[in-house]
Symmetry: C2
Subunit: 344 residues, 2 copies
């Protein structure tokens, strides 16, 4: 079937294009899908008709026949408040979407939210028959989550290395440990010796890895680890940065590495409130290079994460998995960069 002007829109199918260009349905299909065995002359002829009528194959028909939808699911199982305050997910989403679109995939979105029944939501997600594969954007996935992901039988990639069973799961992540080490080495090189750390939310590999980097930098420099200089209760929040810094002030630190920029900024406030100065009395280093790092006073030395590329690699890796070009697990760590500003 094919009504020519459906809502003022040409809406033809393969068969119509075939008729209009004097070839068979199969040949048009070959042209559309860039199959090799089509003579140049036929290809041109068909392409011309396709272009003239602005023909696009019907995605549902294609999906049904080929059993591939060219749709990838993006799951962001995060609590609302994180989305509010943290542009990380916005940027990530942009990276994923841009790359997906450029390789002819459409991203469909699953977000949890406070108002929704979690278990029903996950049933929906895990029973989805539409997406060819999925990207899970969260570092908090646990073993049972990964198990369900595996049971689903379709490729997936996690953004942020998970703690559990990660030997066999596919992920992309930033070099958190190396970034933290770079930051602390930088502080040491500036002559700082009593270097404190405000840690991230426990249970996340990013927090773990950043702490690890801090420790290894100190060890490499033969500076003894002083447990009192590591705040126990940091959780990436503004508030925990402030209270963490208050604690560290009692131990006469001359530098502090905060596990993210938000905490670094609130630590700076705590320092000022104690009538001390950054970086003269205490140097501050952050992590993430969010917008806030540029607006603090003084601007914040921090570690830049390649967030957009995280999304980009996740999509490309997933598609490689999907098309069988690589075998799981697909694992990729992306380099980070030290951005020196005036806080150190």
């Amino acid at each position: 079937m094919s009504t020519d002007f459906d809502n003022g829109f040409t809406d033809l199918n393969l068969e119509d294009i075939a008729r209009l260009s004097g070839v068979s349905r199969s040949t048009v299909s070959r042209v559309v899908n860039h199959h090799p065995n089509v003579s140049e002359i036929t290809r041109r002829k068909v392409l011309e008709v396709i272009e003239r009528y602005n023909f696009k194959p019907h995605p549902a028909a294609r999906a049904l026949a080929s059993q591939r939808s060219n749709i990838i699911g993006i799951l962001i199982p995060h609590i609302v408040s994180d989305l509010f305050t943290d542009p990380f997910f916005s940027i990530l989403l942009q990276g994923i979407t841009t790359t997906a679109n450029s390789v002819n995939y459409s991203p469909i979105l699953w977000l949890t939210s406070a108002t929704v029944d979690e278990s029903a939501f996950y049933d929906q997600v895990f029973n989805d028959r539409l997406a060819d594969g999925m990207i899970v954007a969260s570092a908090t996935v646990n073993a049972s989550f990964i198990k369900r992901l595996d049971q689903r039988g379709k490729p997936y990639i996690i953004i942020g290395r998970p703690f559990t069973a990660y030997e066999n799961t596919s992920y992309v992540d930033s070099e958190n440990e190396q970034g933290a080490r770079m930051m602390v080495e930088h502080l040491i090189q500036q002559g700082r010796r009593r270097i404190g750390m405000i840690t991230g939310r426990s249970g996340l590999t990013s927090s773990h890895d950043r702490l690890q980097g801090y420790i290894s930098a100190l060890q490499n420099a033969d500076i003894p680890i002083d447990m009192r200089l590591i705040t126990p209760a940091g959780d990436y929040s503004d508030a925990s940065g402030y209270t963490g810094m208050k604690l560290l002030l009692q131990h006469r630190v001359d530098a502090v590495f905060a596990a993210n920029d938000v905490m670094a900024a609130s630590a700076m406030r705590a320092i000022k409130d104690a009538s001390l100065s950054v970086p003269d009395d205490i140097a501050i280093g952050g992590f993430d290079d969010m917008g806030i790092a540029r607006t603090t006073e003084p601007p914040l030395t921090t570690i830049q994460q390649p967030i957009t590329q995280l999304g980009d690699y996740a999509v490309r890796g997933l598609i490689d998995l999907l098309e069988g070009r690589v075998e799981p697990p697909f694992q990729q760590m992306l380099p980070v960069k030290l951005i020196v500003r005036q806080s150190t």
Copy 2:
């Protein structure tokens, strides 16, 4: 066809369910789609089998046969930097996604980004054959954009009332004008008389409407409009709030209404840098009730927008349009709320 345990997953089709429950394909289809004419006993029998095998109809097959995909496109044609700094879109996306999922629709995402060829991107979006309808989240759509949207022949809803031709286009928006009026009336009620305004980015209906609300509040109170108290170059950015406030300081204002919270916060910095105090010397009101409004010193009086509901209404409106329950244009303005904190 139907292999029973495909990747450890039951993956049956209608035909299989029909055979397993001793009825025909058609009857199963009726059960799945909640058609009325199925006897209670048959329905139960079929539902039991469906549940036992966790059957879900194949979305592509369904879409092909019914010519409806239950997918809605979400277009956010915004520059990167906005996404970075403004949680508006994150919250909106969450609202849209949550509602869509709850009514069995899947949202697919289109985001522009700096690295992508705009015209190719829009060709892709406007030629999409997958989505049943789309939600455009941007107040900057112009007449030619709306024309293409109309030509596409599928329902759409714009979030944010557009300037052009809006009589016939469907949109949902917040009561920006009314919100601004409420804020300025509040300032007047607090005894303020020289009330300045830092405007939003020109070309957006939100900026226009908020300015309009400011003007009408003053007029209602018989306070003459002083053009020098309206900054010409506000654009919703941190920087423009600061410079705008610097300008207003030269005209001895006793209150300022900033068209968003970001500018209100930077205006407060400008006031402090001039050694004046908020609210004693100058009261400040914002708009949006973003997270920042709670962390300024003092906390910011502002107007709360129902962002999540904006997404919710957009989805519901779109589906009503899709299913022919309402005729376009679907237009809806959502109420806003004055949140009084300590800055006024």
